[in-house]
Symmetry: C5
Subunit: 86 residues, 5 copies
């Protein structure tokens, strides 16, 4: 998993039906010291807000299990909110 | 997922039969600020045009589910058109 | 697999229930000569301490087999403590 | 998928039996403008020659389906010859 | 697959039982021109020695098939010794 900071939400009106009603977050991947290194678009499951530090899990099988679906075009998910790294 | 801009179409007359009749798009991966960082060749499912910003999902199992096939040599798919990131 | 050095633990009170009771380690990926190159958040199974050199396996199916679960949102695991590279 | 240029063939007399009788190609990954960015060793299925531009699919499940085997140590395959990108 | 040069062996006395009795090799990934670009820790199946050029396959399903196990925490395997690239 990686740590990321939520930077915004993605609006994609023309998309695969799987994404209907799901929040897509633009997440800046960050190093533990806070520097930014790329980004990923992830589906939210912990109701994270812009500016929060989150845990990103980027694997299709994990993602489908989280949504309890056998099939679904999904790979990256926000699985946790980071409180502290110590 | 990643955001990309459609840069062109790929013509591959000698290829695996799975690709017959499918549109292959050359997609420049972009950062949210618009800078380009590599590319991917993806199969189109939302009828995206050159110059449009799209969502790229890059995972084989997801891709096969989108085309409703159990097998098929495919990994990257254009799954949405991006309207806004805010 | 990669070699990493345990740099700390991650506290994520709001997260997927799978992570309840599991130790999440911040692991700095290192080259054999000791230089740092990125990091990964991994679940611990060998009780590694901060400062120890460890083996990181980063694949979902492997990770779920280690925890003996058919499903679970997990990908990276600390699978060994490195004694020597010679 | 990625675009690559075939740079040579790999001779590996001591290898897993799966590779017996298969052509292993050294493929330089290229950007659409022609610059080289790394390489991959891929199994050929379209009889590509040195210097030709090809499509590389890099996923194990796809690769095994192409060879119609349930198991097999394979991941990258040359799945097409690129005629034009426009 | 990638080409690598075996640089050493990894001693990990505290590790997952799957690795008992298996040789773990530190493999420097190399470009065809010989420059080094990162490394990977892989399990050996062709009895490669330090200094030899080898083929690395980095995919979990392939790796488990090579060891004929349905489960096992493994991803990268040395699958061949490279004689020549021409």
């Amino acid at each position: 998993m990686k740590v990321a900071e939520v930077a915004g939400t993605v609006v994609s009106p023309i998309s695969h039906p799987f994404f209907d009603g799901k929040r897509l977050l633009l997440c800046d991947l960050i190093d533990p010291d806070g520097t930014v290194g790329g980004y990923v678009i992830a589906v939210d499951v912990v109701n994270a807000g812009v500016g929060e530090r989150v845990l990103i899990l980027d694997e299709g099988s994990s993602a489908r299990q989280i949504f309890d679906v056998a099939t679904g075009p999904i790979r990256a998910v926000v699985v946790g909110i980071v409180d502290e790294i110590a």
